[in-house]
Symmetry: C2
């Protein structure tokens, strides 16, 4: 810049003043400290800003002596680089946008912990894009992704966020999908095989001798829901059981949905003997409702959930559930994204993590086989 030198000497004067007058007010000093730039450090160390930048970036083309003086000046001034400036110049932000359907959902919370652990190790931080289960909220994050504010995106919502006529995958920004594979997306996808898992649930029920079933669904259109339902039906079909033997309750992956399904179940004359809920919350809501009404789980009705949240094994009875490796999902997803950022392997790449069926006390043989 044109007056780089003038500015530099002005800064030097500032410092001298600060040293001389020790009776500056606390607030004023803080303001000054907040304004410390690489120029100040350079002036103090008696080197150029380029050298400071190099020393701080750990470049090995800088002499030990210069480096030492820079570090000393940094300590003395309490300098912290301005990331906004660095980001602009270096065209990276060290920020990852994590799009999550609902931050308040404990399932995603643990996945986020895995993501965070991996990202922090690599020096990245996490911006949360909370959709709050609202599609309208997607647009905001498409814009954010487009704005040069993030270096990559992790999507947990099972669909490509869209808004203002743009879809996030048109942005030429590294991305990865976690927890829910997005069909056709040319990016790494880290998830459990929902379909396979649901077939396992069906087999478990069939093995116990069940013939009449209930299914509590997730939100319509949700990719996890779709896969879980069709997998369940597919698994039953093996035993020649069609979907007419499955009572379907519509749900939204929350406790309340389980409660409502439970109420409807109680009102039925010819009740299913086994109920599969597409997530643990719904299974728990269901169990609570039927137990409160005087029924026994599993004797009167077997219940299976999905996710394997921590509370599942603290229920009474403990819940049989498909355990998703939540922390690992997050960790692996973040790692896949980081790899994608280093060397874009462009193309769909599925990484499937195993989800074991955890047998709890909520399932048994039906009373009358």
């Amino acid at each position: 810049m044109c007056d780089g030198v003038n500015q530099q000497s002005r800064r030097e004067e500032d410092f001298r003043q600060e040293e001389m007058t020790d009776n500056v007010s606390q607030t004023r000093r803080q303001a000054m400290r907040a304004a410390i730039t690489i120029q100040d450090v350079a002036a103090r160390a008696g080197v150029s800003t380029a050298t400071v930048s190099r020393a701080l970036a750990g470049s090995n083309v800088v002499s030990a002596k210069a480096r030492a003086r820079v570090m000393e000046a940094v300590t003395e001034t309490g300098y912290t680089p301005n990331f906004a400036a660095r980001n602009l110049r270096a065209r990276r932000s060290m920020m990852i946008l994590v799009v999550v359907p609902n931050v308040a959902n404990p399932f995603f919370a643990e996945v986020m912990r895995g993501i965070d652990d991996e990202l922090v190790t690599a020096g990245y931080d996490m911006i949360i894009g909370n959709l709050d289960n609202l599609v309208e909220r997607e647009a905001r994050y498409v814009k954010l992704a487009q704005s040069g504010q993030v270096d990559g995106v992790l999507i947990m919502s099972g669909r490509v966020p869209e808004g203002d006529g743009r879809a996030m995958n048109e942005l030429d920004l590294p991305m990865a999908a976690v927890c829910a594979a997005i069909p056709g997306l040319a990016a790494p996808q880290v998830a459990v095989d929902d379909r396979r898992a649901s077939i396992d649930v069906a087999e478990h029920f069939l093995g116990l001798g069940h013939r009449r079933f209930g299914y509590i669904s997730g939100p319509e259109g949700n990719i996890n829901e779709t896969e879980r339902y069709s997998g369940f039906i597919e698994g039953l079909a093996v035993a020649g059981i069609g979907c007419e033997a499955v009572t379907y309750w519509h749900g939204l992956f929350n406790l309340q949905a389980g409660v409502e399904a439970g109420r409807d179940f109680l009102s039925m004359a010819d009740r299913p003997t086994a109920v599969y809920a597409a997530c643990d919350e719904m299974a728990i809501g269901f169990m609570k409702t039927v137990i409160s009404a005087g029924l026994q789980v599993p004797e009167d009705v077997s219940v299976v959930g999905f996710d394997g949240i921590e509370f599942a094994e603290f229920m009474n009875p403990t819940l049989t559930t498909m355990r998703q490796p939540r922390y690992e999902l997050g960790r692996t997803g973040a790692r896949a994204l980081l790899e994608e950022m280093n060397g874009p392997s462009k193309g769909e790449r599925r990484i499937e993590l195993a989800a074991p069926l955890i047998i709890g006390k909520s399932t048994c043989r039906p009373r009358f086989v």
Copy 2:
């Protein structure tokens, strides 16, 4: 900048080329699109970059005609402002750092939803600073806060984050504490009165006729823990009961701590008849353990938790607990921070939200009074 004009005309040529050759590869076009700047828009609209900037900022000193042309050019080019550049120049980032003890904790997850709702309304996004319950992780976020990357900080960890010899409150950055008041911090503090709440718990127990107690603690030094414990002791003291009547189990706000306390409880000869856990998870872990061992809650032992997490009322028996207004805590905390950012009211300012005692089925009179 020195060659602003030259650059502008170069850009214009780029556009003409794009219009003429429609057989550009998809990737190339994306790259071009990603590089669209305010200059391109200005050129297209036939105005200066300043006008574009004003039009986009919603300034009212711009003519309707100019505004229309800018908007048209924005649409045509698919322009999205580069936030990194805007942040640098405007000295704001529209980002708030949210320091959370543990992202995976469902309690904080719901608080975060409240925070997010409030922030999004005001146009801010949320960077998560996850401490993972590790003090060492604080330094990272002190640095981030110092780097000009965030406009404010929301602290949920109950202590001022420190690192590299700096404390976050020395940064002259607007902040607010949520969920846990930080004694002496000159900033808004939004929390429940833990002490008062614990006195209520003690009164509830005493009212039922209990005389021997158990307490499952949070992490040592944690401000919520300290207040809850001393409040409980204070409440008991009113009835002339000293802390020798309280068995103390050390815990860490997790399910496992409750399990361990439960095991120890089972091994006791002269068991307490009422147990207060400093959070619901520990209460649930405790209940599960003693019930599995054949005891009855509340007949053999009354249990009270803290937080009022959603699962509390899905336990069997439903848990008696102090319900914290989690969403409201987040929302109010975020609002307080935004106010602080507008007009620094500097100084400690406590906002206390009520925590009602929710009476569940986990407490009753002791068997032998």
